[in-house]
Each structure stands twice: as structure tokens, then as C-alpha cells.
């Protein structure tokens, strides 16, 4: 930052943070097909201690399901829920709704919510929602997506994954996959579904819920940054694949930044999600990078590495972009810069 008041304690990406989200509001995005059990899961979460102070944003038309826990209706779209949570059923732009909620909270017109859970429409592709939080100009300076949770039901989930590209994308982009209705599914159904999900998204945590009973941490804690370290390259239908780019030596920031600039310019729509730790030359802690299609989150340097592993490890979920292509781009730039 070209500041007249530089701090020698700051890194090249500003103040080093204890954790990736810094002081931003944590956001959990819940996706999943119609009837998968998203609302049941959310209702249970709102009754737990971890769920206190949650603002729920239902990103669809005519949403129903959580109104029985409302304590009072409101003239506008925002309503207060039972335990100090609130719910905003947005019929307009998500970004606009979130911005309004922040302003109203600052004015004291809305409760002092501590977390946002966005429940998406069953048919939604989560990518545009992730993009909403990607830049400071959008909402990235205020909110931070800690986890994308995708709910899949054990009864119909397998079939849905087979016929719906949107459902597959929801599963592929998830940090956590939650299998519901295991109690009413046929024997072996949930095992088969877990195997199918594991094939689609080998890095995500998989949990099972019965009647919405699940560890609240699934919705209230950040996804592990280590989760994908072991993932081998996987290819899916739809041309979507994932791989982990691991680099042993510290990388000069301009090399990585220029490579990602080029990828975003040339293949932005095919960069579904890129996220990970980077060992940047001259940085003390790991630099967390995240990209969604053509948008880059501001990089964040953490105070400390979480463990002894100092390798860069960045997960790429892409459409028809392969690891050798990214490595080749980095190598070419390294020779030039």
C-alpha cells in the first residue's frame, strides 16, 4: 500500500492476521437441491448456542419453512427469529440485501448479528454467491465465506446427482457435504451416496445428519485449510476437475499474481474456485489466496503457519484446465520476472 504512514510491522499485504477472516463477519453458504433438508438443518442450528446471533438470508423467491420460529413479523423483509437471530428473505439482489443489513446493524436498527448463513435456492449455482464476496468493492471487506455446505439427501440425492449438472456443481464446490435422511433411505444408500460424493469432491468433509441433528460446528466453523492437501487430481463429468498445486520453494508474489491474472483473463469462467496457502517470498506467514472465476479475493497474510509444512498448496477446481497448464504458466513467468 502506498501510504504516507507505512508501518514496519505490516507485511506486503497489510496487517498480518491471526486467521483468514480477520475481523470480517463469517458467512456460511448452504446449498442443496429442493427437499434435501437445508431448512431442517438450519432450524436446528438456530436453536444451538453456536447459532445465536445468526442472520439468515434466504436467497430465493417465496421461501417458506422457517417462519414457525419467528417471534414477530416485520413490515420489511427482515424478521427476528427466536434466539436473537434474524432472517432476511431477499427478493432482490443478494449484495444489496447484505449491504442494507450492515448499514442497519451499524445504525442499531438490526440486532448485532455475528454470522450470516445464506440458504440458497435449490437450483442455485453457488458460484455467483461466492463471487459476491470476492472483492472489497463488493462485500469482501465486510464478510468472509468460511464454508460452503452442500446438503444431499440419501433418498434421492444419488439420482439428482446423476441428472443435474447444478447438483454436481454444488457438491464439487462444497467445503462440507452433509448427507440427510439416512434413517429413511434404504440400506446401503448413504454408503453409496458417500462414495459418489467422495468421487466428485475428494477433499470435502462428509457428515451425516438425522432430522437435522448435526454438530453445529459444521455451520459455524471455517473449513479446514488443510483438507485438500492429499487430494489427487480428479476429473468429473462436465469437464470439471480439481487438483492441488503444491510448490516447495517460496514463490515471488508477482509470478503467482501475473499467472492468476492471465488465467482469469483467458479462462475466468472455467476457474470455478481456487483457494489455498501460498509461501510467498519475504513473507513471514502463509498468504491465503482465493479466486472465483474472474474475481480475486484480496490476499491475506497470516501471522503464523498452522504447522511445519511450508509448501504452497492451492486447490484448483476448474473446467478443462489441467495442472500441467498452470505449472507451465508459472514456470514461464518465473523465467520472465
Amino acid at each position: 500500500m502506498n501510504s504516507p504512514f507505512p508501518s514496519p510491522a505490516a507485511g506486503q499485504f497489510g496487517r498480518r492476521l491471526k486467521r483468514e477472516r480477520g475481523a470480517r463477519l463469517p458467512v456460511t453458504v448452504i446449498t442443496g437441491f429442493l427437499g434435501a433438508g437445508k431448512t431442517t438443518l438450519l432450524k436446528r442450528f438456530l436453536t444451538t448456542a453456536e447459532g445465536q446471533g445468526t442472520a439468515v438470508v434466504v436467497n430465493e423467491f417465496g421461501a417458506t419453512g422457517i417462519d414457525d420460529v419467528l417471534v414477530r413479523p416485520s413490515a420489511d423483509e427482515t424478521v427476528l427469529l427466536g434466539n436473537g437471530c434474524l432472517c432476511c428473505i431477499t427478493r432482490t439482489d443478494l449484495q444489496q440485501a447484505l449491504r442494507r443489513m450492515v448499514i442497519e446493524r451499524e445504525r442499531g436498527e438490526l440486532p448485532d448479528f455475528r454470522r450470516i448463513v445464506i440458504e440458497t435456492s435449490g437450483l442455485a449455482d453457488p458460484s455467483p454467491i461466492l463471487q459476491t464476496f470476492a472483492t472489497d468493492r463488493a462485500l469482501g471487506g465486510v464478510f468472509h465465506v468460511e464454508a460452503v455446505v452442500t446438503v444431499v439427501d440419501a433418498v434421492t440425492g444419488g439420482d439428482t446427482l446423476a441428472w443435474s449438472a447444478e447438483a454436481r456443481k454444488q457438491a464439487i464446490l462444497a467445503d462440507r457435504l452433509i448427507i440427510t435422511k439416512t434413517d429413511i433411505a434404504g440400506e446401503g444408500a448413504s454408503t453409496a451416496l458417500a462414495a459418489r460424493l467422495r468421487a466428485l469432491n475428494p477433499g470435502a468433509e462428509i457428515h451425516e445428519a438425522i432430522n437435522g441433528e448435526i454438530d453445529p460446528a459444521c455451520l459455524a466453523e471455517p473449513a479446514s485449510d488443510q483438507r485438500n492437501a492429499f487430494v489427487a487430481e480428479t476429473a468429473h463429468s462436465d469437464g470439471i476437475g480439481s487438483f492441488v498445486l503444491e510448490i516447495d520453494e517460496p514463490l515471488p508474489w508477482p509470478v503467482f499474481a501475473k499467472a492468476m491474472d492471465a488465467l482469469m483473463q483467458l479462462r475466468g469462467p472455467d476457474l470455478l474456485r481456487v483457494k489455498g496457502f501460498l509461501n510467498v517470498k519475504d513473507c513471514k506467514g502463509p498468504v491465503v489466496v482465493q479466486f472465483v472465476q474472474h474475481l480475486a479475493h484480496p490476499p491475506v497474510e497470516l501471522e503464523h503457519w498452522p504447522d511445519r509444512n511450508r509448501r504452497s498448496r492451492v486447490v484448483f477446481i476448474t473446467r478443462n484446465i489441467l495442472e500441467p497448464q498452470v505449472r507451465g504458466l508459472l514456470a514461464a513467468l518465473q523465467n520472465l520476472i
Binding site: 510491522a9 496487517r15 480477520g22 445504525r107 442499531g108 448485532d112
Partner: protein
């Protein structure tokens, strides 16, 4: 929905955002604390935080905070007179300086006392510097970080102010021989001594007196002096016997005075300056933390203030709402040093942390507003002072009954 109708905004609603409360200790029922906080590593390795009390009967309290989740009082001392208060203290090594102020002029004892606290359970008085007098209420505040000089806001028997509220000025005391503290320099704001052209009184008229007197090892020749209704001064103390003002900055009028603390961030060319809120129900609103461009110390320019929540949401919670003390980066090994985060206490507005990476846009990154402490007459918490140790443990105190709170930063 209005703030008044908001069920989560009712009086005393606690807020904990990006801080983690580790413990609270009401200090044996004497939890009304002042604005002196200093951490000692005792010879046996224990970490003791020394705390000044807001008012009598207690003088100071030492708390073992080696385990910040389980603070334990190790010593608590009494003041000899009920009309005294020891609002301020500082520690350098094993020597602690304590400020004694009286309710009225010409009461004794009023002055500076030095203690040997090498055995924390048994503080031993080393010496006492009498500052009482016909026009003096003694010492309100002091700064003691180098083991050599105490810089303080004090009256003196030989000083007659032009107005009774202007009795405390800057005094520099040489304590290199702690058994015989001796004044080596003093300065008062022109107009505050009887016979000088009197200053225009402010609307709330809190007095033209010295308050904080900060001196740092990075610039031993500079004093950052706040003067309540007189604004703040950057002072040249190269010659301690002749302090000279370099620059002056004030926000009042149009604001309502009571400038309290000025903390320089040397590497960044910034000053963080606080007001003190002194009126209940926010009647002196706004009292703020100011960010001042001090790249040229002769030309101070205010560039921002740290944002506070809407006054309507706090004004009627009880007691005061507005700025007071901040963590001052005291130049001692047991204090956290930060030039990117400002942490301050705002009475019923609690404890708030600001990221000033971009000093033009300070951003709140952490909030701690505990519930009203048991037995408080204010009806709400009144967080009064804050200190952060080198482990980044945050200590904050309530002005009436809440005592000590220990916290972790989580941002």
C-alpha cells in the same frame, strides 16, 4: 425498526465480538478501578498486574495473572485517608510510583510515593514526595517507564493557579535515587498561573490542567502532554529543566474539551489522541479517539476518528459513554507494542479495538461490552482503562465494581 424497539439493543446488552473473555475478578469486592495498570514479572517468575483504584478506601491491588484464566489477588492496600485517591500508578522494574490526589486543596497526604514491590505480597515504601499545598490537590496522573524520571500531572505548594481547576501542571521528578525524589523541571500552560492573562473557559469548564504525560525511549527528548481543556502539546524536554512547547493541537471548541492521552506512533508519523467523556447520558457527546498526522511535529493535522456506535443506542444505558484510555504502548518489556491496532475503553461503550492500517479509515475489529457488573451504581459497565501485555493478553477494568477482565484478541 428503531434502536429503541430492537430487543437486542436493550440496556446492558452484552457484546463480545472478536475478543474472548478469559476471566473476571471483582478484586474482593473492591472492583472500582482507576487508570493505572502496569505488569511486573516478579523474581519468582510470577506475572503481577498492578492496578490503581478509582477512589478510597483501597490504594492499589496486585493480581497474579500468570494464568490469565485464573487471576488471583496477591495484595491489596488501603489509603490512609478517606478523602484520598490513587488513580494512577506505573512500574519500572521492581519500583512502583503511585499518585496521591486529595478531594480538596490543602489536604494531606497528597503527592508521589515510591514502593519497592520486589516481594509483591509486601510492598515497601521507599520515599514520599509531598505535593500538597494551599492550592494543590496533589498528583492525578504519572508516567514512569525508564526507572529514572517520573513525569506527572501534579500541583505544588509553590504554585498558585489563576483558576482553582487549573492546579495540576507538568512536573518532572528525578528518581534515580528513589530514596530522594527531586523535581528537575516543570511547565504550565501559559495563562494558568495567577497573574498571567487568564484563559477563556470552556462551556463545560473542566479546567486547564495536565493529564497524561507520556515520554518514550524512542524520543527521550519529547513529552506528549495532554492538558484537558487546553488540548495537547508536543514538548521538547531535551533540557528537562526547561520544557518548551513545539506544537499545540486542540479540538475544542467546537468540541467540549477534556483531552486526555496522546500516544505517538513514531514509525508511522501518527499520534493517537483521546478525549475523556466525563458526563453521564453522553451529555458531552461526542468524545472520541482522534488520529492525528504528526509527520511534521510542528504541524499536527487531524485526519480521522475511530468510529463509535450510534449514541442513541448507548446514551441511556447508564453512566458515561465515550472515549477515555487507550493502550499506550508503554516502552517496557511487558507491554505489547502495536502501531496498527488501537484498543480503547469507552465506559458503557466497553472495550473496542480499531485497525488503523489505513489511518484515514480506522475500522472497528473487536468489541467487548460486558453485562453490568454486580452492584454497579451506574447501571451499566464503565470500562475505564486497558493494558495489553507482550503475550497479547488484554486487561481492562471497570470504574465502579467490575474489577478486572482478562481477554484474548481474536482478529
Amino acid at each position: 425498526m428503531s434502536a429503541a424497539n430492537n430487543p437486542l439493543n436493550k440496556s446492558g446488552e452484552p457484546v463480545t465480538w472478536n475478543f474472548k473473555l478469559l476471566a473476571q475478578n471483582d478484586l474482593g469486592g473492591f472492583g472500582g478501578m482507576g487508570e493505572g495498570m502496569s505488569v511486573q514479572i516478579a523474581k519468582d517468575g510470577r506475572r503481577i498486574i498492578w492496578l490503581a483504584h478509582e477512589s478510597a478506601p483501597k490504594n492499589f491491588t496486585g493480581v497474579d495473572v500468570s494464568d490469565p484464566r485464573n487471576p488471583k489477588v496477591v495484595v491489596q492496600t488501603d489509603l490512609p485517608k478517606p478523602y484520598m485517591r490513587s488513580n494512577s500508578l506505573e512500574l519500572s522494574g521492581d519500583i512502583m510510583a503511585v499518585a496521591y490526589q486529595t478531594q480538596k486543596v490543602n489536604q494531606q497526604p497528597a503527592g508521589l510515593e515510591l514502593f519497592d514491590v520486589s516481594v509483591p505480597e509486601k510492598p515497601r515504601s521507599i520515599s514520599f514526595l509531598d505535593c500538597s499545598g494551599a492550592n494543590s490537590r496533589g498528583v492525578h496522573q504519572l508516567w514512569f517507564c525508564d526507572g529514572e524520571y517520573v513525569h506527572m500531572a501534579a500541583g505544588s505548594p509553590d504554585f498558585e493557579p489563576s483558576h482553582p481547576l487549573d492546579d495540576q501542571f507538568y512536573r518532572c521528578i528525578d528518581v534515580r535515587n528513589p530514596a530522594k525524589p527531586v523535581e528537575v523541571g516543570r511547565w504550565w500552560m501559559p495563562g494558568t498561573k495567577k497573574g498571567e492573562t487568564p484563559l477563556t473557559r470552556h462551556k463545560l469548564d473542566k479546567g486547564y490542567r495536565a493529564h497524561n504525560t507520556n515520554v518514550y525511549k524512542q524520543r527521550k527528548d519529547r513529552l506528549y502532554l495532554c492538558y484537558i481543556d487546553g488540548g495537547m502539546f508536543v514538548m521538547d524536554i531535551t533540557d528537562k529543566s526547561k520544557p518548551k512547547p513545539i506544537s499545540h493541537w486542540t479540538n475544542s471548541p467546537p468540541y467540549t474539551g477534556f483531552m486526555h492521552t496522546a500516544v505517538p506512533l513514531f514509525d508511522r508519523g501518527l499520534l493517537i489522541v483521546t478525549d475523556e467523556s466525563t458526563e453521564n447520558k453522553a451529555e458531552d457527546w461526542p468524545k472520541l479517539v482522534w488520529i492525528v498526522d504528526a509527520r511534521d511535529e510542528k504541524s499536527l493535522v487531524s485526519i480521522a476518528t475511530c468510529p463509535l456506535p450510534p449514541v442513541d443506542a448507548y446514551a441511556n444505558r447508564g453512566g458515561r459513554f465515550g472515549a477515555h484510555n487507550i493502550h499506550e504502548n508503554p516502552p517496557v518489556p511487558t507491554a505489547w507494542q502495536s502501531d496498527q491496532i488501537v484498543i480503547g475503553t469507552f465506559f458503557n461503550g466497553g472495550l473496542r479495538a480499531y485497525d488503523i492500517s489505513n489511518p484515514y479509515q480506522p475500522k472497528e475489529v473487536g468489541t467487548f461490552v460486558p453485562p453490568p457488573p454486580k452492584g454497579t451504581p451506574a447501571g451499566a459497565v464503565q470500562l475505564n482503562d486497558v493494558f495489553v501485555d507482550e503475550r497479547q493478553i488484554v486487561y481492562t477494568v471497570d470504574r465502579h465494581t467490575g474489577g478486572l477482565y482478562t481477554l484474548e484478541m481474536d482478529f
